[in-house]
Symmetry: C2
Subunit: 220 residues, 2 copies
């Protein structure tokens, strides 16, 4: 299958674009990264994701696949060589899908809402986010990665927890993911960020911090 | 595989529970339906879905699977006999997952919000919902079902559009899904509701109407 026929419409600071890049690199697929300007959406993006008009969009032989978790499953089903992103056993697959959805439905909104909140509302949101992280902490017990010994769907979906969460909360003066409260999650963050593909794919922390600092200032 | 080992924790009026029942019937799996009282959640529900505390929960040999779309994939992957719920081709699978997610993320909330809105806000929400239905109308062109000639993931996920949507909107005096505006979707609704498994699985319209009428009155 021609690797040259894989294009990714994405943004370097997007947690969702980075998920797809991690999966493509895990599978050893060469791809062209086509940077998108979300303040001035390209005809290519609007053509290939007319419903949501969002990144990432994976173009494979010209055919678009949208929504990052759906793209990860597509990559896993299309390129059978290389490490598996989802396990083989149906129950283990359902469990992985459950946690990936939990991260998207619960963890992302909780953390983002904290950054835009104040006072009592913020306290409540921190409590809510702490609950979600405790759930993930428990799920990791006895395992190195959510996927077991190797990085899988939930780890890739969890790149937000590993990097973006700390960056966003630092900008509003909050530290949530501490070794005292979440020893297992913090160990996972270390192992994850230091594994070779993740290290070469995710942006440098300082750059991400600078990007979101400027972004927060502009949105005020 | 022992059919007797399949239990479904559900609610008869739940669009999500019904999705799972449709899939189990399509595959010819015998199952025990364990009715849940959501105003007084059972220890069994809280034990097996401690994160969301919601129906449906599929128990297969005592192991729980939660979230209706994840359960549908689990059923398809576990019971290979019987008609397929997802197509085989990875691109067609990604497309089915995209539309199922679109129904959950966009159509459900838009319709529910209409029922709780008034005046100008309601007009805007109707416009939004009309946009989503137009998107589905276009997606159906040239096909009998979203799954092609047979019912598949998107059709099962779309049971809300086929039955609940009309019931909910009738209770607030709105007709949205008309033959004039959505000829293809209305044809799909007819074909879908009259196909044998759907007919025997979905609740009678009048009962659903009575249930939600009483439910709306109680929530006022």
């Amino acid at each position: 299958m021609g690797d040259q026929e894989v294009k990714l419409l994405g943004v370097w600071a997007s947690v969702f674009s980075k998920r797809v890049e991690i999966a493509l690199k895990m599978k050893g697929i060469n791809y062209e990264f086509v940077v998108q300007d979300l303040s001035n959406k390209s005809p290519e993006l609007l053509q290939h994701n007319p419903i949501h008009k969002k990144v990432p969009v994976l173009l494979h032989k010209g055919k678009p696949v949208c929504e990052s978790l759906i793209i990860l499953e597509y990559i896993d089903e299309t390129w059978k060589s290389g490490p598996s992103i989802l396990p083989e056993d149906p129950y283990a697959r359902a469990t992985a899908r459950f946690w990936a959805k939990f991260i998207d439905d619960k963890c992302h909104p909780a953390i983002w809402k904290i950054t835009g909140s104040q006072g009592e509302e913020r306290e409540k949101l921190i409590e809510e986010a702490t609950g979600h992280l405790t759930t993930l902490e428990n799920e990791l017990q006895g395992k190195r990665f959510f996927g077991g010994d190797e990085i899988g769907l939930v780890d890739i979906a969890g790149n937000f927890i590993a990097l973006w969460l700390g960056v966003l909360l630092e900008l509003v003066g909050i530290q949530l993911l501490t070794k005292e409260k979440f020893p297992k999650l913090c160990e996972w963050v270390d192992d994850y960020l230091n594994s070779s593909i993740i290290k070469e794919t995710l942006p440098a922390r300082e750059e991400l911090l600078a990007f979101f600092r400027s972004w927060f200032q502009q949105s005020k």
